[in-house]
Symmetry: C2
Subunit: 512 residues, 2 copies
Amino acid sequence: MINAAGREIPSVINGYKEVMPFSGAYNNPGNGIRTISRYKTVWPGGNKVLGSIREAVEKVGLRDGMTISFHHHMRNGDYVLNMVLNEIAKMGIKDLKIAASSIFNCHEPLIGHIRNGVVTGIEANYIVGFVAKAISKGILDRPVIMRSHGGRDRAIEAGELHINVAFIAAPTADVYGNLNGIYGPSACGSLGYAFSDAKYADRVVAITDNLVDYPLTPISIDQTLVDYVVKVDRIGDPKGIVSGSTNITRDPLGLKIASMAADVIEASGFLKDGLSFQTGAGGTSLAVASFLREKMRAKRITGSFGLGGITGFFVDMLKEGLLKVLLDTQCFDLKSVESLREDSNHIEISSSMYGNPHNKGAVVNNLDVMILGATEIDTSFNVNVTTGSDGIIMGGSGGHNDTAAGSRLAIVVTNLFKGRLPIVVDKVTTVTTPGETVDVLVTEQGIAVNPRDEDLKKKLIDSNLPVVDIDKLKDMAYRLCGTPDEIRYKDRIVAVEEYRDGTVIDVIREVV
Amino acid sequence: MINAAGREIPSVINGYKEVMPFSGAYNNPGNGIRTISRYKTVWPGGNKVLGSIREAVEKVGLRDGMTISFHHHMRNGDYVLNMVLNEIAKMGIKDLKIAASSIFNCHEPLIGHIRNGVVTGIEANYIVGFVAKAISKGILDRPVIMRSHGGRDRAIEAGELHINVAFIAAPTADVYGNLNGIYGPSACGSLGYAFSDAKYADRVVAITDNLVDYPLTPISIDQTLVDYVVKVDRIGDPKGIVSGSTNITRDPLGLKIASMAADVIEASGFLKDGLSFQTGAGGTSLAVASFLREKMRAKRITGSFGLGGITGFFVDMLKEGLLKVLLDTQCFDLKSVESLREDSNHIEISSSMYGNPHNKGAVVNNLDVMILGATEIDTSFNVNVTTGSDGIIMGGSGGHNDTAAGSRLAIVVTNLFKGRLPIVVDKVTTVTTPGETVDVLVTEQGIAVNPRDEDLKKKLIDSNLPVVDIDKLKDMAYRLCGTPDEIRYKDRIVAVEEYRDGTVIDVIREVV
């Protein structure tokens, strides 16, 4: 069947639940009962600190066929997923499903565990590197399920993703299981992606390299949710956890695009007191924020909140008074970790509060402007950030389709082409974010407005911005780069891309 | 049947669920699945702010027979319970159950609503004043259910207390339903008792007199849990919400008892680095803290955490560095509200985290010393803080039996008699807290140690403290005051006292 994003979706996908095709970004409201969560008495005198990961795996009763979860605040410096899986593999447990919020290059050992049958399923919001390639080459029998950040929390709360045991990398933990991410040698800042795991997993194990006296303050995930605490030498490599700093692009093309995007925000009428926005940590996105900052300073505008994925750039805006509040699901650099630790207007939020479309209103719903990247964007404004133009997985939604759906103005900023590959294309390789939730595309060759947004288009033209038809941008890209080659796929589906509401927006097939 | 606290409990209680008799403080661990909680989409552009309480009552679909809940941080200054019930009464809705964490004198209008059939059931942790008397005189057909603070959260999570609509008095709310208690004209500090209501009620309505722009910081109860926000003129009378200040007793007898209690703490070995404790806000309890503070200063001891029910006295100890952290379910005075607002080591916790015996370890489990009051204490160390010696309800457990069960050293401080009434008695009128969880009784006439605690008794004797047998204290009290008259009851049970684990520890009958 053809779904509302125009993609051909099989009515049955082997190894996946019943297929609900994507039917439009706002057509599948939630109104139901959250999944089970377990309580269990710990009496006075009870001890939660265990001597080893093995002991924890034994105590929680991990068995073949279960689902274990991880969060990705350690990013490419994470040691925890590998440590836990190594121990589990040694213990002979098999057929596990890994529900990681994201998977990075550092998780390459996962490939061995898949080959050995320890891991037979993966669900994640973002997958890059060796594991992504192996999945695209068909290493798993069951398709991987890919979700948005908010969609993962929705799936957990709805019981679609039931976690038997959550392993939480905790930069600081006290002996009774209170956790935070802001102190310790592996400080990562916010633990926002791990909140739902802690709330809904049957059993919760915190793994820390900074075990402190009771009671820890502040508390991000509290003692009522954590069964056991294990102290290890190191939970991650600081170099991979947070960047020393995140920087604005110096590329002239990127700066041009960013400047135009800032002009779009101004022309659209959002440049006023109370402005809220999110950008990614990429150089061009940060450059948009930089140009926006100049405009805010010039017009003496005080924004409302910055959302993310927080960088030092946002911290500077908070300190300068250009933003009142930062709402933070993860910290990208050291400055933002420090700010979360010290500034009471910089607050940690769960990814459910951030983007879950089925709670009583996520933060993304209150976002004025979202600056989005794209691996590809097609003439229907569908965006792909999941696969490369070779069809191989190299990312995933993360917060992409959450923020596009929630924000009042979703702007995609990208070069028209990169290397010899057109970014604006006829049809994206994979739909991550449906075109109906994207308002504007800004390239160095002009600005395309979604035909749904006639008013916006008029405003931009009135402001003398270079508005062009998206088909023209695509034609220009194809003229310069040539028409992209068709990717050759096998029949087998290696990943199902769920939209944030749990419907299937696209499938990803094994590449030849 | 006779329960483990030695009380005769009927095997069937009309209007109450199946009776599970109290079987010992640590004999009923929890290991199960939390009750349902509901999610519901609010799309971008959705509005949560309603014009009136009536509109909120209509929108949430309140109907005859439902249960509505309130929290008691507004204490005797609360306007919200009365406002909501007045509106509901006007709308003609009947047969409601009120699940209030506590009921105060200001809630007298409840009596009229009971007479008119609007309210037919009450569940609360603490009831004083007019409503308490009316209940004891048999105004309700169904027995009231009384619980501890931790027990209420347990009952909510277990689904025994299912809340259809929670009305949350919010000193500050933003337009999207983020709430805190630390700002605004009705600032009360912590909102700890309302957390479970917000999480597990089918629908949640915040009522505020300080509606602010999005997003509020800090956030105590977040937007993902709140359906609607109603702005009213005033949610409470500041004079009734928090005291200007809380003070140490000046009564010489009270000071003597307090001094002896501090000596007990020292003699028992808890006066060392890492000491944690809780006291009530009463004058004698605060005096114990004051003597303890002197000892800590003299011995250069740094405590760990203070728990409560927080007063300015604890705030001073935090500022002085005698305590590292305050864990706060409610603020008793203005100084503690200010501290919660400004000191990052003073943190708000839910009453579930505070005392729920069925979560993965409540804070009370880590409490070294608890200073408890008593209306009566009997020779089995059972304590009554629920009824007067006339049998009329005038309180309830609150955190009493939670902290007694959790703490390593539970000390009851009380005069031997008050007026002409003995406090140490043969058999308490009502058992609130079972004797097995009480370690020591300190009176002006001597210190009685629970026979279970032989080591402790030896330590106190070795320290030359005036240890006496509790029967001797009772005899002394009876000699001075005469043997108390038997209370004359009717057969009808007006309230069921549930222990924190949900078993029935006592029943309260209609007084003649």
